[in-house]
Symmetry: C2
Subunit: 303 residues, 2 copies
């Protein structure tokens, strides 16, 4: 069966300089062939992985399964605080996925706009970017980006930076979760969307991004596309209902998703990025020598 | 209902220099606000559109509808010739979509690998790139690309160039169709795939791309993801069967899809690109000043 290769091959046809670049970065014996992603992950130590904070983890419970979202309060503290209140008030329970626009976004919330927000939740200030903080662990990518002066990963999230302005923001890669809004730059967090297509990076700094789907994005991306304008479901369609949205910390431990996410501030992650910039698998006849922010995989495992 | 804006708004908050840049490019009266994509398309002339050649158009007929693929023989003449022979021999009819890997590709062909290729069809030489030809109408993008010295559109297809080497190749954007292969760089065209996720540009120059889906990509992108390795469907899953693949020229005119595709070698298309680099809709608070190759929309209409 003819395949388009992914990350399951073993040998190496990289030129020597790539090998040497890798040797400087990862604890492998020099002279060995560059490792592919599977081999790099197989060589990882427990300290290369982290367990997401249950207080910053959302479960979007659908009849088809659970979508797990890691929140990013360091980038959007006001919206994340609102979302926690909305979840704990049961606001999302019984609402639905209301929009599926091909190669763009899945959106969920109140199609009718009639459900009242719980007390204490309203529009908050735009959180399109955040001040760079010393508590953020940023790993820059080596390649240039067209949309920002610098891009890389901040504590597991694809992000961009303008160091002159001391600003950072999350980037609209596949699986990122943001806050729908109208022309007012303020928003509440009651309408959320996830990117399910090619990264719409032009939305960066125009929306508050609040997190990333770390498991189950395919439960959204494989939904039927909405027939209405902008992919909204029309009245004759049957949007997938949301059974509940919960914060993992509020769920009994036995019912939680047991996930570990690869850290992005380690030499192993830097080696993984290099293994994707220049793919060592022999299937690849030409190596890209480049990787775009939204093409870097962010592995998640169930220990 | 809170929306993430797309292309349906009317006003403008662009700085004046963008306005002036646009005035040089499109036949609008100077002093008018920059147009958004919808307005630019509304102002198009019949000559801004083209009808795809029925001899270079494939219909992938599924029980859920028709996927229309425009072939690019100028980039992969040997594979396109093979695909025409395969189609006319009925090779694909009754086969199935055999792989759906989330955020990557849909692939169709012979899961069992037992169907014989028709007489006269076998592996042909790799067509990972092509010589730049004066018959190609190339419109470069103004922004830099990380994967190639130059990118833009060649006769409607996203493409890249290395002018020093006199080479051009198609780019793995959403909806592009390519030829699955094993480690041998040769391939026949009997296994085809379409990109249904973030552009895997690292595949550029590693696979023969043969065309682009111009209608119906959502019939593939919304399919259930395969549970096997690399998203292949396992034996317990039910892959979507292919009723038939046909060349439009072989289909009675009354049964053909009547499509027009926006030309990419016109001042109107250049204005459209600019309207996406700097979105004039007031929903956008920050303009990107940039567009990545695979974020440029390629409008198709049914007259």
């Amino acid at each position: 069966m003819t395949r388009i290769c992914d990350n399951h091959q073993m040998h190496c046809n990289s030129p020597t300089w790539i090998l040497c670049a890798l040797c400087a970065l990862v604890p492998v014996s020099c002279g060995a062939a560059p490792k592919n992603m599977g081999e790099i992950l197989a060589s990882s130590a427990p300290s290369d992985w982290r367990t997401p904070d249950p207080g910053n983890t959302l479960y979007l419970e659908l009849s088809t399964g659970r979508v797990v979202i890691e929140l990013a309060p360091q980038f959007a503290p006001l919206h994340v605080a609102n979302i926690r209140k909305l979840v704990r008030a049961g606001y999302f329970d019984g609402l639905a996925v209301i929009r599926l626009q091909d190669n763009y976004v899945a959106q969920w919330g109140d199609a009718e706009g009639t459900r009242a927000l719980p007390a204490g939740v309203g529009d908050v200030a735009a959180e399109f970017d955040a001040a760079i903080s010393p508590s953020m662990h940023f790993t820059p990518l080596p390649d240039k980006d067209g949309y920002a002066p610098q891009v890389g990963f901040t504590d597991g999230f694809p992000s961009a930076r303008n160091e002159q302005l001391h600003l950072t923001w999350l980037a609209h890669c596949y699986g990122m979760v943001g806050v729908g809004r109208d022309e007012n730059p303020k928003s509440s967090g009651a309408e959320l969307y996830a990117v399910i297509g090619h990264a719409p990076r032009h939305l960066d700094r125009n929306v508050a991004l609040v997190g990333r789907i770390v498991k189950g994005v395919e439960l959204l991306s494989s939904l039927p596309r909405g027939k209405g304008e902008l992919g909204f479901y029309t009245k004759v369609e049957s949007p997938l209902p949301i059974r509940a949205v919960r914060i993992a910390a509020d769920v009994p431990i036995a019912e939680r998703s047991n996930l570990e996410i690869l850290r992005t501030d380690t030499p192993l992650f830097t080696a993984l990025v290099e293994s994707r910039r220049n793919r060592p698998e022999p299937w690849f006849k030409v190596q890209a020598g480049n990787i775009e922010l939204c093409n870097v995989p962010l592995p998640v495992r169930e220990p």
